[in-house]
């Protein structure tokens, strides 16, 4: 029985409801149609095909306007029978960091504050592949240096990813082809995943990402290298915009010593399968049972 029926004016509940409705109405009327649509946009993997089309159209328009050149946002889905794997030859890596910069160029990371998805660690050779005391800030005249080992680390695309489990809103998940992705429009920037990731592979946009329009790579993917806003997490996606179209990731192609290998783990004839079968591969922090699909090996 409500208060109104009893003739006692507004009850507390009705007042709150009315107030809320007024606020909502005010808020909605202040938004443009597109803003409204963006506000009510669902998580990417819950969107209907029509919605995806609409969202992508809106994003393309927004980015094209913002950067002054035609930007495409793809939603290329995972292929059947594909599980991506990566191999890195530590006996060849010379620590030249070309991969880190090729990645920034391909994936539209913020130039300032600087974000790099690949971090190359330098470790003393006598310590072996140990991350403890490894130095990412080495800066000699020439590499490789005598007595040092270089260990590039990026997202290990775990089969059992701890980062996706801790996300309170489900904004990050593992795709069918094994790539762990982030929906930048759903991420709330709580950084739980940053602390859950044992490899330091997730990066927070602490500031407004600075990306000069002339440096923008206009060939983007919704779950990959499209421009990010402030306050969201980003990470390596094996260059999802490239690999879903069959190409090698940018870091594989730039590596001057050919230390980086990439392929389909389910294809027995792929390069990555050759490595798994002929080299003694290992993963970082195997004891954590994250089951990375990023394999390191020594070829010589």
């Amino acid at each position: 029985m409500s208060g109104a029926e009893r003739g006692e004016g507004l009850t507390r509940r009705e007042a709150l409801a009315a107030g809320g409705a007024t606020l909502a109405a005010l808020f909605l009327s202040a938004c443009s149609g597109e803003g409204l649509e963006a506000f009510f946009q669902k998580r990417f993997n819950e969107l209907s095909l029509d919605d995806v089309r609409r969202v992508i159209d809106r994003l393309q328009r927004t980015y094209t306007q913002r950067f002054g050149k035609a930007v495409t946002v793809a939603d290329t889905p995972a292929q059947d029978g594909v599980l991506f794997g990566y191999g890195l030859d530590l006996s060849h890596c010379i620590g030249c960091r070309r991969c880190a910069y090729a990645c920034v160029k391909e994936n539209n990371q913020s130039r300032d504050p600087q974000i790099q998805w690949i971090r190359v660690l330098r470790q003393r050779r006598d310590k072996g592949v140990s991350l403890e005391g490894a130095d990412p800030y080495y800066n000699p005249e020439k590499v490789p240096e005598e007595g040092f080992l270089y260990i590039p680390v990026q997202c290990q695309q775990c089969e059992n990813p701890p980062c996706t489990k801790v996300c309170p809103v489900g904004a990050t998940w593992k795709e069918r082809d094994g790539i762990v992705v982030v929906d930048y429009d759903w991420c709330i920037g709580c950084r739980c995943c940053v602390s859950a990731c044992p490899y330091g592979a997730r990066h927070m946009n602490w500031g407004d990402p600075y990306l000069p329009p002339e440096e923008l790579n206009a060939d983007t993917h919704y779950l990959g290298n499209r421009p990010r806003p402030r306050g969201v997490i980003e990470k390596c996606t094996f260059c999802i915009q490239r690999v879903r179209k069959g190409r090698y990731p940018a870091c594989v192609e730039i590596c001057p010593v050919g230390a980086r290998k990439f392929g389909n783990l389910l294809d027995p004839k792929s390069e990555i399968r050759y490595l798994l079968e002929h080299k003694r591969v290992f993963v970082l922090k195997a004891e954590l049972k994250t089951e990375p699909k990023f394999f390191y090996f020594f070829s010589a």
Binding site: A102, D112, Y137, V143, G246, P256, G263, N264, A300
Partner: protein, 312 residues
Amino acid sequence: VATIVSVTSKILRQIEMRIVFPPFEVDHNRLATYTFAPQNLVHFWSRIGSGDGRAARTRGTLDAWHDACTSPSTMSVSRLRLGLHLVLGFCASVSLGIFAYAGSSGPEGAAQDVTGAKPHGPADFRSLFMFNPLKGLKKGGGDVYAQQPSISGGYWPCSECHNPKKENLTRRVLVKDHDRIELHHGEDLWCLDCHSGNNMDRLHLASGELIEFEDASRLCGQCHGAPYKDWQAGAHGQRTGYWDGPKRTLVCLNCHWPHSPRFKQLEPLPPPVRPEFLGLGLLREAAAERERLAGEGSAEEGAKPEAERSKE
């Protein structure tokens, strides 16, 4: 006018010209550390400098060598007046870059910033990232091998000088010709272990089978079986293109200079910004400054920020 200025400044940014005095050793260009085998150049020098009656503007090209860019380069050498020479290098994989250089030009940007405060972006190393990984590839087409760089220093065919009948086949250290080639390969190798004494235009396998220079990888594979097998499977060396389609594979000589095959040291790109310096907005400030200058200045000065940008 503004368009012309901006286009010109863009072209100028790609061209770096220096006048060179022999003897010289080309070490590297801007940041990419292209190490050209000096002997090629020196040989070429001796040829154009030998006063063989050519015009003062002698021009020639030679295939040069570098080990970072992993594909062949061409250099053109022009002899200018006053005894000066101009060397223009064109790197085939950096398809837009034209470089001219000599001597050991120091690295730009790379090792300069030791504080770890300044953020560097890929735009600082433009020439490095301009190569075309899909060169010669068609989706649905076949695999391709990168062109093997010529190491003959512009001389071809070798039989022009080498007469098989007059060939001295005794093992010796070369002092009269080819003396610039320093052989750092294997314990006890010498020329005719790979080159054919009977036909200098070919190489020979251990079996005696003559092979073309373009098939040199087969020769390498005789001793380096494990890497050769890995290379054939795509596990050794650089591949570009499509993981599920055609691939472009580099051959041995794209990365390994056969007379001294160890991979040369490279300049590393700058380290990441240390966390204590993150978010200083240095790049943004620099960009704003450039815009301010461009806004103030005339069309001439408008080109300046571009030059500054390439230096950063």
